[in-house]
Point group: C2
Chain length 532, copies 2
C-alpha cells in the first residue's frame, strides 16, 4: 500500500504485523529464522523497525526450520520462523518433523492470502492448516490485528510449556490491519509440578525390588544435572542407565556421567534390552524398532518386561529426580562425582594412509575442543564416534531425532547462533547434507564458528546395507542409479566455497588432523571434505 | 529379509513391489524419479530387476517432483516418483503444488511403515495421507500384494485421465508381501468427448454477438494445433487471444500464432482486461490477482464482464475447437497461416558493457536454437524475454505455474529427459534456483543438454518491489538481511562445478553471447552465471 494510502488519522495504531512482532519480543522470542515472500512483507516491514529481533535468512525453508531447532535445543527457548504460504511451510516440514520428535519449542509464522482472497483459489493457495497439522502440536489462524498479540502469546505458550511446535497462520489482511488496542500483558508459564508422591514412591519401589532394571533416558534427562542425579540413583539401586538411540541434546564428556545409547539395528537393540525385567522411561519413549522387518519384532523390549514412565512431559524433571533420590535415601548433596580424566587426548598416529570412517571419527573425537557442540548427522560413517568420544572433551551432542535426513547443516547453524562463544563441530554424511546444503550460506553470512566434516562416501551407505538385508549384494543398474552418487562425484570444496564457506579436502588422517586443528583456531565456518 | 527366509515353495509368486512395478510399466509409465529410503528397498529391488524402467535419482525430493513435472509436460504422460515416508513427500510438496497447478499428470509412490508398525509411532511416523491431500487429486494406500496392481492402475487412471496428481502410499508389508494372482489387464482410458452441441452453439453465439471478446487461453489450448484453430476463430470473429500469466507449456516462435500473456502486476492486468465485455476461458481459470492488496481488486475482469468456459477439463480440446470453427463457418482446412519470419535473429550489438536483465534477455531470445525448450523461472530479471522471443526461434515455453519458487532446475531436468534431442534453455533467477540446486547433479549424471542462465542479482528483487508498494524504499538492517543475499555472494560457477556441471561467468553481453553459443554446440549441461 503506498504510504499516501495509509490512514493518517490513527497515530496510535499499529499494524497486526507490528503487534505480532511486539508480542513475540515481549515473550522473549528475539530470533527469527526467515524465508519470506510477498504475503509476509508487512511482517518484514514490522521487523525492520525492531532491530531487537535478530532476523536470520535461510535460502531454503528446510534451513529455516532446522536452524530454529538447533537454536532452541541450545537456547532452551523458542525461536520464530517466518515462512511463505503452504509451499514455504511444506519445504520446512521435514525438519519440523525432526524438531517435533526432539520436543523442540518453535513458533512458525506462516503468511497466507487475505481471508477474502482464499475463495478465488489463486495459484499460491493451498490448505496451510492441513499441511501444518501433522508436524505441529498446535495450529492457529490469526483473526484480527487487535487479537493477534494474544494469539501469538498462545502460540508461545504451547511452544514453551509443552515444548512443542506452534504454527500461527498470518493472513495478509491481519498483517496490514490496524489496531490501537493496548497490548496484553506478557504471559508467564505456570510452574511445572514435580512427579507426585505416589509416582515417586512407586518408582522407588521398582528400583528397590531387586529386578534387573534399566533407566532409559531421553529428552532433558540427558543434561548434566539430571544425569548426575540419575547416576547416583543407579549406583545406589544397581540399575543401569542407557540413552535412547537418537537424542535432541546429550551432555557428555569427561567429568560427566558416561551413558551408552540403545543401538539402532533391531537385532542389537533387542540384545541390549534382553536381560532387563523392567525399564523405567525417564524422558524417553517406549523403545520400538525404527522400521519393521519381516520376522523381527516391532517392540524392542522382551515381552515379559515391565515398562514404567517416570516424569511425564510437563513435570519438573530435576526436582522429581531429587525427590526420588531423597525417597531412596541417597544424599545427593554429598555426592561429588570423581572427575574423569579425558581419555582420548593422546597423540594419535597420523599417517598419509587413506581415511576410513573409524580413523576419521577417532581423530575428531581426540581433537574435539572442550565445551564444543557436536551435531551428528554422520549416519553410517560416524558410527564409532559416540564410543570414541565417551570420555573425551565435554560437549553437547545433538542428533537427528526424527529420521528425516537433511538436518545437520541447519542444526549446526542454529546451535552456533544460540552459542556464539562455542565451536560447533558438525559431523555430516554427504547424502544427507545435500538436502539442506543452503545452510552453508547462512553460516557464512552470520560468520558462525562451525567446522563441518563431510563424510564423503558417495552413496546412501545405509541403504546398501538394507539391500543386503534383502539378500541383494550385487546391484544392477537401477539400484546403483538410485543408491549411489559417485558419478559424477560431488565436489564439497566447491559446494562450500560456492556458498561463501572456506573448505578443503582431506584424504588422510594427517590432512584431516591439520585441517581440524586449523579450523578450530580460526573464526567463521570451515568445511572439510573427508574422502572415504 | 535374508534370501534364505524367502518362501522357496512359491516360484510363481511376486512381491507387491514387483507387481506394482509391473503395473506401472504395463500402463506405459517407464520413468521413475526417485529418492528412496529404507521403507522403499523392496521397490528398489523390484525396479533393479526391471531395466525397462528408467530410474533417475534426485538428491532432494523437490528435484524429484519438479523433474517429474517437467518430464510429463513434455512427454504428455505421467512419470512415477518414489519418495520416502512423510518427510520425503513433504520435501516434494512445493513442486507437487506447482505440478497440480499445471495440471500435470504424476504418480507418487510414497513408502510407509508396515500397517502393524504405525501404532508404535516410531520416529519416522507421520500422517502421510494428510500431508499428501492438499497437493494431490487422489490419495490411496496400497492394501495387499494381490491388490496393488489394480490400485496402481487406478492411480494411473487419475493421473492420465484427470491430468492430476495421484499419490499411492506403499506400506512395507505390501511391498514385501507376495501374491501369485494373475496381473489385471492394462487399463485403457475412455475416449474424451468433445464439448456438446449446446455449449458449442452458445459459445459461437457469444463470438458473433458483436461484444468485445477475449479468448483467455491456458493448459493445452497453448499447443500449436489448437492455437492455429483459435487464431482462425479469433480472426473470423474479431475476438482477441491472450494467454494466462503462468503456463505449463506454451508453443511459440516463428510460424506459430503470436499470443500475448496477461500481465502479472494487478494494475496492468486490470488494464489489459478493462475493455472486454466478455471473456471466454479455454483451458484457463477465471483471472484473479496472484495476491490481494489493499484497495486493489481480487478479480481482474471488469465487474460487468461476462465469463464463460469452453471445453472444461475432460473434453477433447482440439475436436471441440474444430467443431466450434465449423459451427462458425470457418474453413480450417483451407487456412494455412503465413510463415512468420523469425524477427529477432539479426546480429545484435554485443559489447563489454555490464549486462542488464533486458540486454541479457534480448541476447538469449536472439540466440535461442530452433525447437528448443525454454524453462522460465527468471522472475523479475526475465520480464522482457517473453516479448523479445515472440517471433524468434520455435520453442516450448514452460513456466512456474503455482508460484512456489524452486521449480526451474528440476523442470529443465525432466524436460530434457523427455526430449533428449532438444536443447533446454533454463532461465533462472538466483534466489529461486537455491531451493532445488541439487538438480544440477542430476543434469550432470544424466548428461542432459541443458543450458542454464542464472540471473544473479543477489536479492529477492520481486520482494524489494513489494516493499516499495508498502511505501518502504529504504531498508534498515532486518529487511536487508531478509531480502538480499549479496553478503557473501553466491558463486554459481563453483556451485555448478560442485554438482559436476561445467560453468562460467558472464558480466558483459559479449561474454554471454560467446558462452551461450559455445554451450549450444556442446553436449551435456552448462551453467552461465549472468552477473547483473
Amino acid at each position: 500500500m503506498p504510504a499516501s494510502n495509509r490512514p493518517a488519522a490513527e497515530p496510535q495504531s499499529e499494524t497486526g504485523a507490528e503487534r505480532l512482532a511486539d508480542s513475540l519480543l515481549q515473550q522473549g522470542v528475539d530470533t527469527c529464522f526467515a524465508n519470506p515472500g510477498t504475503s509476509e512483507m508487512n511482517f518484514v516491514a514490522a521487523l525492520d523497525k525492531r532491530p531487537q529481533m535478530r532476523c536470520v535468512l535461510g535460502l531454503f525453508e528446510g534451513v529455516v526450520t532446522g536452524a530454529a531447532d538447533g537454536y532452541a535445543r541450545m537456547a532452551d527457548k523458542p525461536a520464530a520462523t517466518l515462512l511463505h504460504l503452504g509451499p514455504g511451510l511444506a519445504n520446512g516440514l521435514a525438519n519440523l518433523h525432526n524438531a517435533r520428535r526432539a520436543r523442540t519449542p518453535m513458533i512458525n509464522i506462516v503468511g497466507d492470502h487475505t481471508d477474502a482472497h482464499l475463495v478465488h483459489d489463486a495459484p499460491l493457495t493451498s490448505d496451510i492448516a492441513a499441511l501444518a497439522a501433522p508436524m505441529s502440536d498446535w495450529v492457529g489462524r490469526a483473526s484480527t490485528a487487535e487479537a493477534v498479540p494474544a494469539e501469538a502469546a498462545e502460540a508461545w505458550r504451547i511452544a514453551a510449556q509443552r515444548t512443542g511446535i506452534a504454527t500461527l497462520i498470518l493472513p495478509a489482511n491481519v498483517a496490514w490491519g490496524r489496531s490501537d488496542a493496548p497490548m496484553p500483558a506478557p504471559l508467564t508459564l505456570a510452574a511445572t509440578p514435580r512427579a507426585d508422591r505416589d509416582e515417586t514412591a512407586s518408582i522407588a519401589r521398582l528400583l528397590k525390588s531387586g529386578s534387573k532394571t534399566l533407566l532409559l533416558l531421553g529428552g532433558k534427562a540427558l543434561r548434566d544435572a539430571p544425569l548426575a542425579l540419575l547416576d547416583a540413583i543407579a549406583r545406589a539401586t544397581g540399575a543401569t542407565l542407557m540413552a535412547e538411540t537418537f537424542n535432541a541434546r546429550f551432555q557428555r564428556g569427561h567429568g560427566r556421567v558416561p551413558v551408552a545409547k540403545l543401538p539402532y539395528p533391531v537385532g542389537m537393540a533387542v540384545q541390549a534390552l534382553a536381560s532387563y525385567e523392567q525399564v523405567i522411561l525417564v524422558g524417553a519413549h517406549a523403545p520400538v524398532a525404527f522400521f519393521e522387518y519381516p520376522d523381527q519384532p516391532g517392540i524392542l523390549t522382551p515381552s515379559e518386561c515391565r515398562l514404567e514412565t517416570f516424569c511425564a512431559p510437563g513435570t519438573d524433571l530435576l526436582a522429581s529426580l531429587a525427590a526420588l533420590a531423597g525417597h531412596l535415601g541417597i544424599d545427593t548433596e554429598a555426592r561429588t562425582p570423581a572427575p574423569t580424566a579425558r581419555t582420548n587426548t593422546g597423540v594419535r598416529p597420523v599417517t598419509n594412509d587413506p581415511l576410513t570412517p573409524d580413523t576419521a571419527c577417532a581423530l575428531i573425537a581426540a581433537l574435539l575442543p572442550d565445551d564444543c557442540i557436536v551435531c551428528d548427522e554422520s549416519i553410517t560413517s560416524g558410527r564409532s564416534f559416540f564410543a570414541q568420544s565417551m570420555n573425551g572433551a565435554r560437549h553437547d551432542y545433538l542428533q537427528l531425532t526424527g529420521g528425516s535426513i537433511g538436518i545437520g547443516p541447519p542444526l549446526a547453524t542454529g546451535a552456533a547462533l544460540a552459542c556464539p562463544d562455542r565451536r560447533v563441530v558438525s559431523l555430516q554424511a554427504d547424502g544427507s547434507a545435500m538436502y539442506t546444503l543452503q545452510a552453508f550460506w547462512t553460516q557464512a553470512r552470520e560468520g558462525l564458528d562451525i567446522t563441518t566434516v563431510i563424510f564423503a562416501n558417495r552413496e546412501y551407505a545405509i541403504l546398501r546395507s538394507e539391500m543386503t538385508n534383502l539378500g541383494i549384494n550385487h546391484f544392477d543398474d537401477n539400484a546403483r542409479r538410485m543408491l549411489t552418487f559417485d558419478q559424477p562425484p560431488l565436489d564439497w570444496v566447491k559446494l562450500a566455497e560456492g556458498h561463501g564457506v572456506e573448505a578443503a579436502r582431506a584424504t588422510s588422517t594427517r590432512a584431516l588432523k591439520d585441517l581440524l586443528q586449523a579450523s578450530f583456531r580460526r573464526r567463521g565456518p570451515f568445511l572439510i571434505e573427508a574422502v572415504l
